[in-house]
Symmetry: C2
Subunit: 418 residues, 2 copies
Amino acid sequence: MAIFVQKFGGTSVGDPERIARCALRIKERRDEGHQVVVVVSAMGHTTDELIRLAGRVSKSPSRRELDMLMATGEQVSVALVAMALEQIGVPATSLTGAQAGITTDGVHGNSRVTAVARARLEEELGLGRVPVVCGFQGASGSGEITTLGRGGSDTTAVALASALKVAETGGVCEIFTDVDGVYTADPRLVANASKLARISYEEMLELALLGAQVMHPRAVLFGERYGVPIHVRHSQRPDEGTLICRESPEMEEVMVVGAALKPDLGRVSLRRIPNNPGVQGMLFEAVAKAGILVDDIVQTEFGEIASISFTVDHSDLSDVKIAASQVLDRVGTGELAIEIGLAKVSVVGTGMKSHVGVASKMFTALGAAGIAIHNITTSEIKISCIVSKPDAQRALGIVHEAFGLESLGKLQAASTAG
Amino acid sequence: MAIFVQKFGGTSVGDPERIARCALRIKERRDEGHQVVVVVSAMGHTTDELIRLAGRVSKSPSRRELDMLMATGEQVSVALVAMALEQIGVPATSLTGAQAGITTDGVHGNSRVTAVARARLEEELGLGRVPVVCGFQGASGSGEITTLGRGGSDTTAVALASALKVAETGGVCEIFTDVDGVYTADPRLVANASKLARISYEEMLELALLGAQVMHPRAVLFGERYGVPIHVRHSQRPDEGTLICRESPEMEEVMVVGAALKPDLGRVSLRRIPNNPGVQGMLFEAVAKAGILVDDIVQTEFGEIASISFTVDHSDLSDVKIAASQVLDRVGTGELAIEIGLAKVSVVGTGMKSHVGVASKMFTALGAAGIAIHNITTSEIKISCIVSKPDAQRALGIVHEAFGLESLGKLQAASTAG
C-alpha cells in the first residue's frame, strides 16, 4: 500500500462541479488500494477577492492580518473537498495547516516550512480516512497563522510527501494543475514542443527560474532536498504527466531537455569604470535596494579598467538607470549605456555536464539562421543567449529543433515503457 | 482602567464602511482610557452563502466539516476589523476562537464553552493592543474547530467578559446590535413600548424564551451564572441601551418589566386518559422524538382520569397529532382534541415574587376588554394567558397599558440619573 499526496490548485477546485471531479480523482487512487493525503488551494479567485476586500478596509494592512484573512480561502476549500469526498462514500477529514502539523518560521506572508508533525495525518490514514489539508499555510511555533507565499500549496504538498516518506512506500506527490505536464518549450511559442515523461529537479528548477510556470522553484527545491518524486498532471484529464525526480544515468544521455524564453529584457552596461575591489558590491547593492531582480551579469576587464553588463526585466529599466547613475557618480569615471529590446533564449539539461559541444551546437544553429548573439551566460546545466527581441521566438524554435526536442517526449515515454 | 468587551453582530460588520464605523466605536472606548476586547460575527450573509455552497457539494455535509467551513466567516471579519483599527492608529490583533483560548465541549454545530484561557488576551492587552476575537467558535481539547450554534457570538462575548472579570474592573460586556435596547414590548406591535434602562437576567431570559430576539437565552444564562453585566446597544447610534444585570432591591419594586406575544400556537389535548404513572413520560417522549418543542403544559385530574393539554407552534401541529395519536392507541382509552388559532400573551417581572395581585390585574384588564382567556400558566416571574389569535395583538396592548409599561423606561432612566 503506497501513500500518495495529491495537490489540487485553485482552478481545479474553482466551483462545486470541479470539486466533485477532484473527489472522483482522489477516490480512484484509493480504490487502487492506496492511502491518499490531499492538499488544496483556495477556490479560483478567492485570494484576489480577499485582497480586494482588505484594500477597502485599509491602505496598508499588516502582513499578519493579511495572513489571517488569506488563510480562510484554503479552509473553505478543504471543508468543501472533504464534504464532496464523504458524499461519494470516501471518509475524509479537513485540516488547517496548523491541524495538519505544519510548523513554519513565522514570517508572515512568506514563511518557510520548518517542520511537519506526522501524528495527525497518520492517525487519519490509520482510521481509513483521507486527510484534506489546507495548502499555502502553517502555524508558527506560537500558533500564529502564516502563509507560505507564492507557490505555497505546491510546497505544502511536497513537504507532506517528504514527511510521510511517500517514495519509500512507492507513492509520489501528484500536482494536479491546468497543464498536463512539463514541455520541452512553451507550447504557445513552439508548436511542436513535446511533453516530457521525466525531468530532473535541477533541470526543472532552471526552467522554473527561466519562467516555466508549471511549478514554483521553492517547491522543486524542497522536492530535491528531500528526494520527493513529483508527478505534474492535468486535473481534468487522466493522461500521464511529467515526473520530476532525481537525475538517473539514462537522463544524462540527453544533452538538453528544454528550451525557454524570457521575452522582454533590457541591458545595463557600466563601461570603463575603475576595476577597484568593491565596485561590483556597491553597484548590485544599489540595484537590490531599488527592489530590482538582476538576470545575468557579465564582466570584462582590461587591466585597471572594467566593464559590467547585466540584464533586467524591461519594466525595471527606469529604476535601474537611476541606481546605476548614482553608482557611477560615486566611482567618478566611466559611462552608462542602456540597451532595450532584448530577449533571452536558454537551453537546459543535466546532460551538459558530461557532453561537450552543446554550446557550439546552439551557437551554430542560431548563426546559420542569421540571428546575432549579444551576450552569452552559462551555468553547469544551462546556456543562455541574449538576442534581439524581434528574433526571439524564431530563435527559440531554432534551438528547440537543433536539439531534437520535438521528439524527446516520445523517446522518454518509449524508454519508460521498455 | 476598566476592561470592556464589545461584540458586533453580522449586520454591524456587513461591509467595509460599517466595519470602519465599528472601529471608531472601539477607538472611542479606548480613548476614554479603557482596555477593549472585541468579538465579531461573520459579515452579513456570509454564513448563509457558505451553507448554500456546502449544499451544492453535499446533500448531507457532516457537522464537523460544516464547522470548518462556517468558522471562516468570523475569521474574515476579525482580520478586517483588526486592519480597520490599525488604519486609524489602534494596534489590534485578530484571533481565532482557538487562539483566544476558547475551549469547547467539542460538539460540532452546537458546542458549549467549557473554558477560557486568559493568557493570550491578557498578553495582547498588556501590549496595549485590542484583541479582535472570532465569535461563535472555539476549539475542542483536541484542537477541532467547533461552532457554538445560534446566539454563539453573544455567548463568546459574555464568556470572555466573564473570564476577564470585567465587572470587577468597572467594565461591562457591550452587545452592539441593530436594535437600541430591550423594550417593554415589541415596538412593532405596541406603538408606545418604552426602552428599558435595565432588566434582570431572569427577566431577560423569560422574554428571550418568549420570543424577544435581542439576545440569545444561552448568552443571558451565561451572563447570569457568572454575573457579567451586559449592555445591549445600537451599533450605529450613541444612545444608552439596556443593561442586563443582577436583580437589585429597587428592581423588585417594579411588578412587570415586559409583555410578550407568541402569535401562532395550537393546543393539543388528550382528554379522559387513565392517570397512570408514566403516561406523561410516554406522551412527551413521543413528542420530543418527533423533534417538537412543547410550549406550556397543563394537567388536570379527576381521580383515576386525567386530561393533559399543551401548546405547540402552529407549524408543528400535524407532526404532533401523529405522535399523540400513537400514544393514545397505546394507553387504549381517551380522546384527542386539537385547537388552532391561539396565541399567548405573557407578562414578565421579578417583582411578582414579592407583589401580590399581578395575575388578577392582568386577568381583570383582559376581561374588561372582553377577551376570553383559554388557559393560564405561571412561573415565579411570568404569567401567560392563551387567547384567541384575533384578540392577540389587542390583548398585548391592553396588558402593556395595565402595567403602565409605556412610562417604565422613563421612570428607570430618571431613577438611574438620580
